[in-house]
Symmetry: C2
Subunit: 454 residues, 2 copies
Amino acid sequence: MTDSVKYLLEESKAPKFWYNINADLPSPPPPPLHPGTKQPAGPDDFAPLFPMGLIMQEVSTEREIEIPEPVREIYKQWRPSPLYRARRLEKYLDTPAKIYFKYEGVSPTGSHKPNTAVAQAFYNKEEGVKKIYTETGAGQWGSSLAYAGQMFGIDIEVFMVKVSFDQKPYRKFMMQSFGAKCNSSPSSLTDFGKKLLDEDPSNPGSLGIAISEAVESTVKSNGEAKYSLGSVLGHVLLHQTINGNEAILQMEQAGDYPDIIVGCTGGGSNLSGLLFPFLGQQLRGGKKIDVIACEPLSCPSFTKGKYAYDFGDMAMMTPLVKMHTLGSSFLPPANHSGGLRYHGMSYHLSHLLDLGLIRAKAYGQKECFEAGVAFAKQEGIIPAPEGNHAVKGAIDAALECKKNGESKTILFNLCGHGHFDMSAYDDYFSGNLAEDKFDKQHVDEAISKLPEIS
Amino acid sequence: MTDSVKYLLEESKAPKFWYNINADLPSPPPPPLHPGTKQPAGPDDFAPLFPMGLIMQEVSTEREIEIPEPVREIYKQWRPSPLYRARRLEKYLDTPAKIYFKYEGVSPTGSHKPNTAVAQAFYNKEEGVKKIYTETGAGQWGSSLAYAGQMFGIDIEVFMVKVSFDQKPYRKFMMQSFGAKCNSSPSSLTDFGKKLLDEDPSNPGSLGIAISEAVESTVKSNGEAKYSLGSVLGHVLLHQTINGNEAILQMEQAGDYPDIIVGCTGGGSNLSGLLFPFLGQQLRGGKKIDVIACEPLSCPSFTKGKYAYDFGDMAMMTPLVKMHTLGSSFLPPANHSGGLRYHGMSYHLSHLLDLGLIRAKAYGQKECFEAGVAFAKQEGIIPAPEGNHAVKGAIDAALECKKNGESKTILFNLCGHGHFDMSAYDDYFSGNLAEDKFDKQHVDEAISKLPEIS
């Protein structure tokens, strides 16, 4: 009982580089296509939306990309995040497996999102951008970009999915605390939003709709504003690798190395951030890791989606990327894991699944909350509902080890705390948690509408 | 900009002792009295409520008390907590002062409370106690004892002030996540609660009432259960000194030492925990520190209360202690800082104020929220409303330094985050924050009812 449970890193040992998986992939992922011409999109095609610093990261093949000093200064407010050994959970499960988790809930907004928000705000600031539009589901991303904008003096305007705007207002107040403007989406501020409200004034909104509104606002700003995305794209995943770079050093401190890496996947940035630096070592001849991506049964893009070119948003304004998708017209059903309710997936992770370098599992939300509560009772941290998927995946892997008598080392990413999701826990305890349903008919329809790419 | 902003301590360097200020006080604080005989209370008088391990700590004069190894093991889940240098805030204020803060929001329940909850659960467990009753206002203490009980396998039953139980249910769900039972107070589970509900079925409850219900339940358990208090008493303050012991080492890392220490005060444990180890150094011949206790204008026991013997609860069941009090029959008005709404004060801090070793300031909640939002925008942490009082006190001290051109070192305790208090921030932003009022007539009445002690 006297062994360490927590591995910290001093500020002075914090990694100064992000890791770029493009440098080590056995083949590059299929390129994004222009939404109009359906030809490979070049940097100029992205220029109306993103600053060039981020666009060049999207296509870079340099293995290590230096983290600018002002970004590292802001990272210091919470990074390096701790690596924990879940010794009490191991004992509770009576497993020979060793369970480690990296805890991203220590950030200002309680999730991994600020890792890229701060970087994106910096590169926008560098190019003189004064305002950024974005979207948010339950608010993790919106509050993180609000924080980052505040750090660099950039105005942030967020389109927040209406149902969350109304029912989960706490992250909205957090955005306000960080000085950002937050609109309910669909809104009457955009043509797309107005069209939807005309058709149905009670439209509950979706991430796909909110992205469309943020992109439209950006395009209409005539170069005054840029757009920012909190997951899916390559530069977002790149910024998240600060977490895996730290974890490599912390696992060294622990004298251990993962056999299994587990993470939850919505757009993919949270798993990727922890995974890629380790996967890079594997691709350069290191140890093979069993990677388990955990997604919700109700929005299972990896396990039930099609690997095909699709749009990132509902209004079909974004570039097309090849990804595991349920179809951009698919509206994911209600689920407490707002951060996992997205029709598509990072094109990098989709490529890795296609190459057989990772595997995926889908879980129902009840079994995930059950795992999350067991974890909280042992480790004292109440996970975000999204993170409960990773907890469930890690517990399953540990119980598999118990069955087989194997003392494997499991590392999972706990993407955030559940402080703003306690009503979801109330639903769980009071038996009001909705059963997950996979709406096959709806998905089949949405997939049938996928753009045809020759 | 490349200097450190965060000072961590490795697990291996974590303090192994609590600091006991009784060893260094120039005179002992006046002793607690038995509520019936009004004679000094001995250990046996406390035995129905507390395990002997805690009672002996209350009267110990040993300077260093070893933290039991199982308690240190649990502390590792979040301790040592970080010490921050608020460099961005300094720059924003344009002050020559250096501002440091110790951040206790990293604990499982987001405040300093688990420092003593874990210790109390341990000593109860040692003596075979299977159940503990306690009270809670907004839920910081109840959730912390729930967590601690879960860690040591002790049943926890909490009486939660009704108005918070109904309006701020999130910490209630947290207690449930940690396996505790939570009752709305006043309840029909106790004679005192029933009496109050008969008189007024819509009684909103108060901390004084909830304490009475928890104490009554304990006494009626015939030795089966014990009671636990989250502030005020000597052993509680003792356990909180883990924070100051860490801060001494972290200030050494920073190569600095506080001229001024600031904390918010409700019952007093949060300021004491940071302060006492430094104050002990002063009392043993070290540097004189200017100590500023910050309390709410609406519940100003230090600045408007009387230094007199009083009960800790409304039903007058607890021992009498000499403290700055607004009268145990005083019902503090609504204020978002639930943790500061208590009629009395730690008898140790009251003694220190009486000796002139600390001073106190009262602040209104609007100016405290204003300070808290400015802090959040610079440092990325949204403070609990209670903590905003310390932030306000520290900012005031830093501006005083600016006025006088003094580069003093200010250290304040940020007792927790505001994740469960975002509706209070909403009230602030939307202009709905109630003006503080000091109800002099009500306080005068309550003070006139204080017990007469010869």
